[in-house]
Symmetry: C2
Subunit: 136 residues, 2 copies
DNA sequence: TCATTTATGAAACTCTGTTGCAATAGTAAA
DNA sequence: TTTACTATTGCAACAGAGTTTCATAAATGA
């Protein structure tokens, strides 16, 4: 989908900062951190603007947070099922120990797990670490 | 096991900082962050000492890193199978969205996942979010 | 085009985590 | 017990991640 349409569909104004950041997310297949995005941007947006852009994307369900064991948070585009009400809640991510990139494996479902009694699951995230296709 | 014995078994000197931090890990059933530990300590150890203590515990396999979606890293005691060579590599953690605590579910194994061809898994971490027994 | 609302930039700040170095405490052996 | 060696600690300084406030600028709907 076109970036300006994605923004307006999610009730976000079409600003140059958002279009630029969204374009970067669309360009990469793996999860990006704030500093990844900052370096990739041509125009010099303020650090704070980038943080706020990421937060607005998170709020509206355009991107989701990717957990890996690196210091800082990473984000990746949601698949179509995500919305601001309800993030797609069964993510599998793969982090390559060689290149350090984290990819979403959208086609793979997390198998259900039997929790101890009294525990109620609402969301689950599986992070698999190893060597990715490009590095093996 | 007694704290001083745990330290010497893992080739770490018995210092007051390490005994104090290890005592805190033994006291709580859920994963702790650096700041959790700092607040909990009676005696005023230097921030850096606490960081280094956590790192030495990680190195020696006394604690492992717990991933959740919070800003800062959290750590929890390893089960007995861990060693400095080989961390137990199939962790399931449960994060409660009410109290915010992350527990290790040591009895639960992560089901195997079929990866796309070319991907090689060496480790996997499953984070389940929801409501814990104490909060439900 | 105008008024309103939302987004941006700048500065200042907090929190997390690291590094280098000198002083101190543990440990093993004499 | 004392010594000598090595590991650990505290301190200072730093780098990076992330947030808040507020005045200015840009987007949108009328």
């Amino acid at each position: 989908m076109e970036a300006p349409l994605i923004l307006s569909n999610h009730d976000l104004r079409n600003t140059s900062a958002r279009l630029a950041v969204l374009g970067i997310f669309q360009k990469y297949t793996y999860a990006l951190s704030h500093s990844n995005i900052e370096k990739e941007l041509q125009k010099d947006f303020d650090r704070v603007t980038i943080y706020r852009t990421i937060h607005s994307f998170l709020d509206k369900g355009i991107v989701h947070k990717v957990m890996d064991d690196s210091e800082s948070a990473k984000y990746a585009l949601c698949v179509d099922e995500c919305s601001s009400d309800h993030h797609h809640d069964n993510h599998v991510h793969f982090k390559c120990s060689k290149c350090g990139n984290s990819e979403c494996l959208n086609n793979i479902q997390i198998p259900l797990t039997n929790l101890p009694s009294g525990y109620i699951a609402t969301e689950s995230n599986l992070l698999i670490e190893g060597v990715c296709k490009a590095c093996s």
